[in-house]
Each structure stands twice: as C-alpha cells, then as structure tokens.
Subunit: 341 residues, 2 copies
C-alpha cells in the first residue's frame, strides 16, 4: 500500500498548491468548465486522484444554496406499495444526481412533524409527502417553505402544493359498483376506521357513498385495527363480520393483505369464495395474484406515482418559480379475478 499513513483532509487548495495553480482553477477543472486549459485540467484530475481527493458537497451546498436533496416521507418503506413508489422515485432522481432523503413516519402524524422539521433543516430542494393528513404545525411549516411541496397517494381538497395521486374514495366506489353489478347486495367493508390511516378512511368513505347511491345498507363497517393492518387483522375481521352479519354476500377489504387474511379464515370456516362470499382487496399486491382464489383488486400504479413525481420535481427545478400548483391524477385500474364472480 502506498497510501499516506496519516490522512489529512485534502481540499482544492492542496491540489492547486501541488500544481502551482489556484483553488479556483481546480474548482473549474472539476465542473468541466469551458474556460480551462485541457492540459491543466487533466493534470488537476490526475493529482486529485493521486491525493485521494473527495469533493466536499457540504461546502459547495452552503456556497451555492443548492443541495440536490429531495426529501420524502412515507408511512413505511416495508409496505410493498410504498416501496414501489420510493424505488421509482429514487431511480429517476439518482440518475440526475439528486439524493433522496428518506424518512419513515410509522403512520404517526406527530412523528411526521418531527421528521419534517429535521428534513427542512437539511435544505432539500423539494419535499414529497405521502398522504394529505398533517398536523397544524406541519402544514404551517410547509406553506411557508420556498420549495416545491408534493403530496402523493391522495387527492387532497386543500393541497399544500402539487399533487400526484389518485382517489382512494372513487376507486373503492367503483369496486362496490362492480359487486352490485354482479348481483351482490349485502356488502360489508373491512378496515379503515382509524385516523392514522387516512387512505383507509377514504376507501371506507367510498364504500359508504356508493352503497347509499345504490340505496343499499351502508352500515356493515368492520374495524380492522390501527395501521398497518395485515393478514392477522383480516382473519379476525372475518369472524367479527360473520358473527354480526352472517348473511353478507360481498366483502370489500382495505388492502390485499387484509383480504388474504379474510380468505384464509373463510377456508377454515368452510365459507366458499366467491359462491357464498365475494371478497376483494386493494393495492394489487403480489399476494393477491397468487392466492387461491386470486383476488379482485385495485391497482393504484404505485411505481408510476414515484416516477411521475420525479418528473414533476425535475421540471420544477429546471423552471424558475413556475406558476400554479399542479395536480396529476393517476387512474387506478380495477383488476377482476376469481374472488369475485
């Protein structure tokens, strides 16, 4: 090894000194500036490599008042839907050398607020929030901030800024319509009672709205517990449902995971799906494609939300202070499978 034993931080001035040029010239060499001698530039890059120089973005960021950071909060990266969004957002932004600052809110608005405060101190150039439900203080912080704010995964009525989302409500209504169209009348909804899952609440609202529109009983609302709800809650929910409303002929679940749990419990109790009970999920998770019977569900195009958000941000960073807030509506798709007739 020919590495120097003690490592002092090498800076541009050191490279310059070793070559008899100024720090400014070194700076220009790195950004591939037009106005610089090709030979000098080559020498600088070679020397930088030799000295093990690493460009200091913290200094550059301070001086330029630009960081290349994009902050994003999600309830949980472990959820396959949100991680698809994060992945496609990251993928596109990191190609442009923008760096994601990721934070998990754990479905908690207070934690979201705490994290937003931390994130804003890092001077990101844009902020992406999953969902539209925020604390007072979070809203205040974000309305005063001078950078693009994008709310995703919902269509808020009072958006903070830009929106890339879909209607959890309307898409769930469409699912009810399908159930009714195929002759089901005694429908129930499982999930979405708690405030920490605004998307679940919206889906439940869509259920109620559609039922009332059809003149049907919209009161079969089974709570599944606090987010994140999964397969266990789905199984327990099915028991609750059949105890209370044994004649239910269609069950709409707040997610594919919950629906899968309900499905498994149906098998145990000898309830035939879809003959005795039609079951649907939400989110088009892998599990819904492979279970038996496979689940009718809603594909919200989680990845697309990420890539369109990335595109929006890239546009906004190019354009200097563009005008109105943009609203990009994603159209979820109804996926029909054998769990419904």
């Amino acid at each position: 090894m020919k590495t120097p034993s003690v490592k002092r931080k090498v800076k541009m001035a050191d490279i310059g000194a070793a070559l008899g040029v100024s720090a400014m010239t070194v700076s220009r060499a790195f950004k591939g500036d037009a106005g610089i001698n090709a030979r000098t530039r080559a020498a600088i890059l070679a020397k930088a490599d030799e000295l093990g120089y690493v460009f200091d973005a913290t200094a550059s960021n301070l001086r330029k008042s630009r960081t290349g950071f994009v902050a994003i909060t999600v309830p949980s990266v472990e959820n396959a839907n949100f991680s698809a969004t994060v992945r496609d957002l990251t993928k596109r932004l990191q190609k442009k050398n923008l760096q994601i600052l990721l934070a998990n809110t754990e479905y908690d608005p207070a934690e979201e607020e705490r994290l937003i405060v931390q994130l804003l101190r890092r001077k990101p150039e844009a902020v992406v929030l999953t969902g539209a439900q925020h604390s007072q203080r979070t809203r205040a912080l974000l309305t005063n901030v001078q950078i693009p704010v994008v709310e995703i995964w919902d269509l808020p009525e009072q958006p903070l800024g830009h929106v890339v989302g879909f209607s959890n409500r309307t898409s769930m209504s469409g699912l009810v319509d399908h159930m009714v169209r195929t002759g089901r009348r005694r429908l129930a909804f499982l999930g979405g009672e708690t405030a920490n899952d605004p998307r679940g609440v919206q889906r439940r609202a869509g259920f109620v709205e559609a039922m009332e529109r059809h003149g049907l009983d919209a009161t079969r609302l089974i709570p599944a517990g606090s987010a994140p709800v999964g397969m266990t809650e789905g199984a327990a929910g099915l028991d609750l449902l059949l105890d209370q409303y044994p004649d239910t002929d269609g069950l709409l679940c707040v997610s594919d995971l919950v629906a899968f749990g309900a499905l498994a419990q149906c098998k145990r109790r000898g309830v035939r799906v879809p003959e005795d009970l039609a079951v649907s999920g939400y989110g088009n998770y892998e599990i819904g494609r492979v279970c038996e019977p496979p689940l009718t569900t809603i594909d919200v195009h989680a990845g697309q939300i990420g890539s369109r958000t990335a595109d929006l941000i890239l546009d906004l960073l190019d354009a200097p202070a563009e005008g109105a807030a943009q609203r990009h509506v994603i159209q979820p798709d109804l996926i029909l499978r054998r769990s419904t007739p």
Copy 2:
C-alpha cells in the same frame, strides 16, 4: 395570513438583531446550552418561531465537519428482504436524528461505484453496503475513507471494514442436509448463476458443497436468469429442470419467489409437492407462508440485520476511533413447512 409577503432567508444573526443579542447567543439558545439565561433563551426561541426561522444544517455541517448522514446502498428497496433491512436501520437511526442517504444499485456494480462516489461527497459519517462484491475502484475509495464501513448481508473473506451478515453458503448447505436427511437424493438447484447476484452464487456454492460432502451428484444446476429473478423465472426453471432431469426428487430455489413460481408450474404439470418433488425457497417472504403447500425456507432475519447495523454504527460514532473491525454473524433459521417432507 400574517406571513410576510416576500420571504428572505432568516438567519441566526437576524433573530439576534431583532432582540439586541449576538448570533452566538442565538446559536447557544438553540443547542440548549447550559451557559445561557433562561429568559433570553425563551425570547430567542419565540422570535425564531415568529420569523419562521429554519436552522441551516448545511452551514452547521460545514463548520462542525459532521453531517449526521449515514449512506446505504441496496440492490433494490423493492425487494421485501432488503426493505425490511432498510426500515429497521432507518427506524433506529432517525430516532437519533441521523439521516439515511439511500441509494439503489439495481444489482449493478458499476452503478454502485457511481453512487458511492456521489455519496462520499456528501460526507456521511458511516457507509453501509449490501453485499461484498465491489469494483476495484469502489474498494479503493472505501479503504481510504476515514469513516466506518459496514458490509451487510454476507460474510466477506476480505472485508472492507465491519460486517453484519450471515453465510448464504452455509445456510443453503443446511437445507441440503435436511433434504438428504428426509431421504431425498437427486437434488437440483435453481438460480444463482450470474455475477450480479453474489448472494445467489453463494447459495449455489453451498448447495454444491453439501452435495459433494454427501457424495451425491451436484451437477443439477438450473440457471434462472439475471437478478432480480422472480416467479416467472421459477416457473420457466421448473420446465427446464424436468426436461433435463425428470427424476429429480428435491428442488432448492434461490428465493421464495422463484420457489413459488416453480410450485405453480408443478401444479400445472401435475407434479405433486412434496410427494413427487420436494421444494424449498429462501428468504422467508410472506408469499412462502401463504402459498399451497407453504414453503420450507430460510429466515435470514433481514430486519435484525438493519437494527444491529444501526447499533454498531451508533456505537462507533460514540467511541472515538475504536480498534478492530467488528464481525457480527447473524444465524439464519431453517423454517420447515409442508413443501418438504
């Protein structure tokens, strides 16, 4: 709204000026310094709030030469195993106000190298790498860096620094042992031929090693394609296998996703699992728990890798230049389910 119409950036000096104190006092007020008048401090915090002040971490970072960043590369956050690691790592670090810098390598060492360069410019206080296979230049960059480097998800023979991982090889060997113990002899391995999935290659090596140890034929190695391989490749792989080695009585797959694909194809071809063919997966994905029959698999404790890495980093950042590189070995668990006898 009583917000000022034009927003200039407010700094500590502005708050100080408004109150007749120096920027230094404001700085002390924010860090809850002991040596400061409680009344002064309260006034400063109130004024900061009133002016919409946001602390500038970029300036602080430069001055203090500490950023609170921890960089991590993963092949893909979309993979449920890696996202569990990222989640638990993030969860623990963000409690200490450390900020994750996440980068997706897309299973490509060249992209990894490019991303590492970008990440190091941000002056993270630690770097976490998923896997142990890196380009020459990546290795060089990371051996010269003066911060903790942690390789996770593997047990490299020539580690760059610290390690939090498990043996993909040994755990797969154990699975072979189980198959042999239950009477299977004509075993095949599906997956892991390509260099961009070093974990898959290790698992295949574990298969070969165990087979040879048992004096059995270790040549039934079915390629599944380039990472990431999934259910589709699993189904195709099963066809390849049965065309070439129709008498195979046990199939070990590189992941639960691949195993699930193989399982589905078995159903289509009328191959009974586990009677005609025992099938195992790897990674303990949710899908392996819910498919029929449920999959025998290896639980690598992906979340635990994240939390133990977080603990290690927190320790290292506390201790000033601790001694030797640490090696934390996680013990994967063999999960027996009905896809094997």
